[in-house]
Assembly symmetry: C2
């Protein structure tokens, strides 16, 4: 016999007919247990779901289980390559504090663990003070001087570019034309294509919506993410996000990518770092 609340769809943030909300909805099926469908609508090269999309999906289940709206810090380790299809998410609540709560999540598809997550959630509407800010937004070219992300030679499986309106800094797209710029960087303007405004739920997607920076070093191989950590620092204002990804070290077959995200007010709203393996470096 189902317990009260079973089968009720839950999701934090704004929910409507928007693609992001539909595709990250989770259904509660028990205590700390959720069901979801990993759609094929946020696919990257090869058709695998984007890592940031999966983290955003996991964040929905965590927000519901921890009963806190905003992901303050969320870390995901990618265990096996995820695929589109039904997923089971299990949240273990580790701590319920006065300001933050912490939980561990596992995302399983077809019996295979895909994602392990550790996160602390809170409520970023409680305190809007800014005591120190040395993080000005990047000086991006105007929108019409940037490159539309869907303009490149992407395969049909890169469905994420139908969901996003990304305007990429022209200094970061040399790899598209076979002329990598030599500086491992990425970024530009970003919004959701269907007009849904940004919130803290979609910021884990925003940090991972960019081409891997090693492409600008001439890397041709896959750059599989081992781990992605996102800090969300404020609820974003409506409008375009500005994102910038930089890499300082490619060594030992590993690369870090740091992405910062600013909202339309110029406020730094998220910072992420991911560690990936990198192969196929030019000799």
């Amino acid at each position: 016999m189902p317990a009260p609340g079973d089968g009720v769809a839950v999701a934090s943030g704004s929910v409507g007919a928007f693609e992001f909300d539909t595709d990250t909805a989770v259904e509660r099926v028990g205590d700390g247990r959720y069901r979801a469908v990993v759609t094929d609508r946020w696919g990257v090269v090869g058709g695998a779901p984007n890592g940031g999309y999966l983290v955003a999906l996991a964040a929905r289940a965590l927000a519901a289980a921890l009963e806190r709206p905003d992901p303050l810090t969320i870390t995901a380790h990618f265990l096996t390559p995820p695929e589109p299809g039904p997923a089971e998410l299990t949240v273990e609540t580790l701590r319920r504090g006065g300001t933050t709560s912490t939980g561990a999540l596992r995302l399983v598809e077809a019996g295979e663990p895909r994602l392990a997550v550790l996160a602390s959630f809170g409520d970023l509407s409680r305190d809007s003070s800014v005591a120190y800010d040395a993080a000005p937004p990047p000086d991006l070219p105007p929108l019409d001087a940037c490159v539309r992300a869907d303009a490149g030679p992407l395969g049909d499986e890169v469905t994420i570019m139908q969901r996003l309106d990304a305007r990429v800094h022209p200094d970061t797209v040399g790899w598209v034309w076979g002329q990598p710029g030599g500086t491992p960087q990425a970024g530009g303007w970003l919004r959701l294509a269907d007009g849904r405004e940004p919130d803290t739920a979609m910021l884990p997607l925003a940090v991972d919506a960019w081409a891997p920076t090693p492409l600008e070093l001439g890397v041709l191989g896959w750059v599989p993410t081992i781990e992605l950590t996102v800090h969300v620092r404020a609820r974003p204002a409506p409008g375009w996000l500005r994102c910038w990804v930089r890499t300082r070290l490619v060594a030992g077959g590993f690369v870090e990518e740091d992405c910062d995200v600013w909202d339309a007010r110029g406020r730094l709203v998220a910072m992420s770092r991911q560690l990936s393996r990198v192969r196929g470096l030019p000799g």
Copy 2:
């Protein structure tokens, strides 16, 4: 009847009579189960064990359980304030891959969960290539122009300063004399006081061995860490480490601190980011 291997002390890296190794030793008591003693020899203000010390202790158990020597990326969420005393560590192996293995750890003291950890380990001796390096070491004053960390008005409970030889950049210690410099930064030269050379096991300690950067903004309150992530990028050369901590945003009652660590060759060997709560900001 004990299984083979039970009761055998295990620890990765160099082990000897050195304080760090003794105080991070873990004893295997079962499959993925370890016992350790959190000593009072790495205490910070108030006598609580330093967070980086606890992460280093957790890393010992993870290295043993995952059978990989080096922490590539390790994330800890601090659940309840740890104390000196006996600890139980449990590791769940989530993935054993060809290059990396991933595990989840819980550290429990007196029945209370203190630390939840998610980490991927590998072997950084397998590939020493450097494909891109835009991370030069900071330009620190010479050792004798820095401030010895044990010179300040620290209480007897800050025992970590007896274990470390830290030479602090003079531009970051205004808070000690009641004249905070206004820039949230920290860092300097670091080595273990008993002459033990750095390795990947001690780098999680090195990133967290510095005063909280909000002290330089005049913060007088506690700065409790919510989460700390450390990326270890190379095995350090013998000799002094150079460490630099910077903060870009103090907002909403939270602060991030990014610490980079270079070895004596000038190679970036670790980068960390932690998110903490911050209270007691000057009005």
